[in-house]
Symmetry: C2
Subunit: 469 residues, 2 copies
């Protein structure tokens, strides 16, 4: 159970098919491993463009591809659609939810890359009034709410109810990080341009789009000069930027800033992310199991024992504090990568929760595993090479032809930055999924047998309905 049975390859279970998990699996294509990739969605999602689905610029399948299809040629991978509901570090298996037919998956090596979800800072009741943006379902929920709001405003105006009309034409985005900025900028674009001339009783361009940030500035991770530029560009697009004021309450009627109540039918949440609950499951299991010995044929058992003394810590966001090689303290056979991992850069700044960092972590875990296996999984190299984040810069799009780019000192903003951002994303999206004219694509499907929209959404593995959290 614990170790790989004699002769057969070691078993690697990867939890999460995001950038970290998928890049790790791909980098292990030729490793002597029996890999099982578990995800509760059937697709890999190109997160950087998710806001485009939420704002109806792209359809869901445009930014997602079935994990099975991506990995169909990699013979050492088994893809499973299931939710991981438990991890047992002592028994070395993960528990699958009944939704995906249940059962357990034994591992010799485990990579947990289940990412992050949005957090409401203890105000879980806000969730149903202010949906966040992490999954395709979230994006379709936001799209539905935003588009429906204009329809309701039109109905209210036709009925002569100006107050109700204005409540439906008021859109608030909470949190001015990259996602909040993208959502606010694009919603302003929809209101002022996309819907122009399509209504008879309202003027969509009179819609009020507010970006609410508790901190002092938008895009906190950018240098002040670019923060100022981003703010100016948002305001040019027609977004009201409110900084330094935390949202005090959110309900079905609107939100409260300090003591001011604001009637607002559409509040979107882009303020907080919390690591996936699997981080806590790991910590709890470690506490139960104590330092893992692990069978002789698995690397670093003894070393692990020592490291194990300090147990597993989570940071405030629930991310797992890993060792420099991204393995779990006390459990060198377990790795954490992507948004779930708390890793610091040499200068002490945390590695950001963005796609390039996740890909790098995934590849790094693959590198460490290959090294271990090269030593016959031997204990000599229990601590793998430390992970070093290569920072290629920081991009954020703001809206129509507006963006900010910070390439380690080299800074762009406005149209040039937007072109840079577009080029980068088109490049990566195309690299990730080659797309042609949809109609050709579909006719083409008859010839190639490929179908470009094989995405489970609006639901999930089970018959779960579209969440309206």
């Amino acid at each position: 159970m614990a170790g790989p049975s004699r002769g057969s390859p070691a078993r690697l279970v990867v939890v999460g098919g995001g950038f970290a998990g998928l890049w790790a699996v791909r980098a292990l294509a030729h490793a002597p491993l029996a890999i099982t990739l578990v995800d509760r969605a059937n697709h890999h999602l190109f997160q950087p463009l998710l806001y485009q689905v939420a704002t109806a610029g792209l359809s869901a399948p445009d930014i997602a591809a079935p994990l099975r299809h991506i990995l169909r040629g990699q013979v050492n991978v088994d893809v499973r659609l299931a939710e991981v509901t438990g991890i047992d570090l002592a028994a070395r298996h993960v528990v699958l939810g009944a939704d995906g037919a249940g059962g357990t998956l034994a591992y010799d090596f485990l990579l947990v890359a289940s990412g992050a979800a949005h957090a409401y800072f203890g105000h879980d009741d806000w969730a149903r009034h202010a949906p966040g943006l992490k999954t395709l379902d979230d994006a379709l929920t936001i799209r539905r709410r935003v588009l429906t709001a204009f329809e309701r405003a039109e109905a209210a105006a036709a009925a002569g109810d100006a107050a109700e009309r204005d409540a439906w034409l008021h859109f608030a985005v909470v949190g001015a990080g990259p996602t909040g900025v993208e959502l606010a900028g694009t919603m302003a674009e929809i209101a002022h341009h996309t819907l122009k001339r399509e209504f008879r009783h309202i003027d969509p361009s009179r819609a009020r789009v507010r970006l609410l940030e508790a901190g002092p500035a938008v895009l906190a991770t950018f240098p002040p000069a670019l923060q100022a530029k981003a703010r100016a560009q948002l305001e040019r697009l027609g977004v009201e930027v409110v900084t330094g004021t935390p949202v005090a309450a959110i309900d079905g009627e609107g939100y409260r800033l300090g003591d001011e109540r604001h009637r607002c039918r559409t509040v979107l949440w882009a303020a907080g992310v919390a690591a996936s609950p699997l981080g806590r499951l790991l910590a709890e299991s470690a506490a139960r199991a104590g330092p893992a010995g692990g069978p002789a044929d698995v690397a670093g058992a003894s070393e692990a024992g020592e490291a194990g003394r300090d147990g597993i810590e989570l940071d405030r966001a629930g991310r797992v504090k890993v060792r420099p090689d991204l393995s779990l303290p006390g459990h060198p056979e377990v790795f954490v990568a992507g948004d779930l991992a708390a890793v610091s850069q040499p200068d002490g700044r945390p590695v950001p929760g963005i796609a390039p960092a996740a890909k790098q972590m995934g590849r790094h875990v693959a590198h460490v595993l290959r090294a271990r296996l090269a030593h016959g999984g031997g204990g000599t190299d229990a601590t793998g090479a430390p992970f070093r984040y290569r920072d290629y810069g920081n991009l954020a799009t703001i809206g129509r032809m507006a963006a900010v780019v910070d390439l380690r000192g080299f800074r762009l903003s406005g149209l040039v930055a937007w072109w840079f951002w577009l080029a980068a994303h088109v490049f990566f999206l195309i690299g990730f999924r080659n797309r042609l004219i949809v109609l050709v694509n579909w006719a083409w499907a008859y010839w190639t047998y490929q179908r470009h929209a094989r995405i489970v959404h609006g639901g999930g593995p089970g018959e779960r309905a579209t969440p309206d959290r």
Copy 2:
């Protein structure tokens, strides 16, 4: 209230933005009417390709376009997103559901074109086990179930449960009309080709796809020679065609044919259509109201009185029996068109429930209305010109490069027919919605301000979740 107030244009309310309703509205672009188009969806749906969304060949926005956007340039139209929950022929208004903010819409002329839904012949409990295909939500539900079934089969196989695996690999389509044939043929294609090589524990090509028809043949509306060809093509694609045997029961475990129970996790319903419930609302309102006099300035009041004696009849499918000009007996100010209208051809055969027929009816109603208005709405032309269905032929696609075409005697089948079918549909889809490379489309959106995926789906006007009926 009843008549158009002096000077202001007559009010036309159109219920339903399908082919009948939308084509009527477009044909009245220059008529002196204040038109309100009411639909519970925000989009017009290109129904003929809906099965492609259900089978993941197309994404939802590929075959839908916002009604508002289609009609943005037509100044005499007001589009309302709402469900019609009542019709009062005496008061001459329609009642809107609270979902769309409620209220009533007064009319001088009314066109009811709310189409059809699927019917379970009194077995409404079958609905949740065997979803039908009428809306985008239906299509996404079917897609989710079909794709998930293969995942569950994989999990069952990995767990060594052969019986469960086979239940998940068994797909049954009930009803061998065009929709059933399309679904079965395409699912066979997915099983035998699309998913090939993507699973490790199952062989998708061993999936069992059965088409269950109570009647003697597939495609009942086609000539016997083409029915035989269609059946042969289905069998070549790997579909088991079972005719002459009605389904006796459907539940979560499977279905019963005669006395045989069949374990089957995925049953799709393509057997019955019933007209929209608005047909019954019309009949009930007419019964309450009795023959409508109608104000002097509305056509044919007297004449209507006579016609009114025989009241309003529905046929077995709940369709409204209309007068030759598609108006309602006793209510010349009310028209019914599309799948909701029961109309016979000169030879007694019913006008089929297909897109070309609906478009023709919609245009005909527009023609009759223009004639009435030309006579100052005068009573001289109370009965408009009779509707004549121009039958351009009958097409059905079966699957990969297989179809049957019946152009009034000129018959095609197989690859040639499929090319004909593809050309016809590509032509109409392009006519309906011009599409480019999605990525270009999206980048393009920044320049044109148009966003190609502005479709509310996975939900509806309210926060209704994806139906899993």
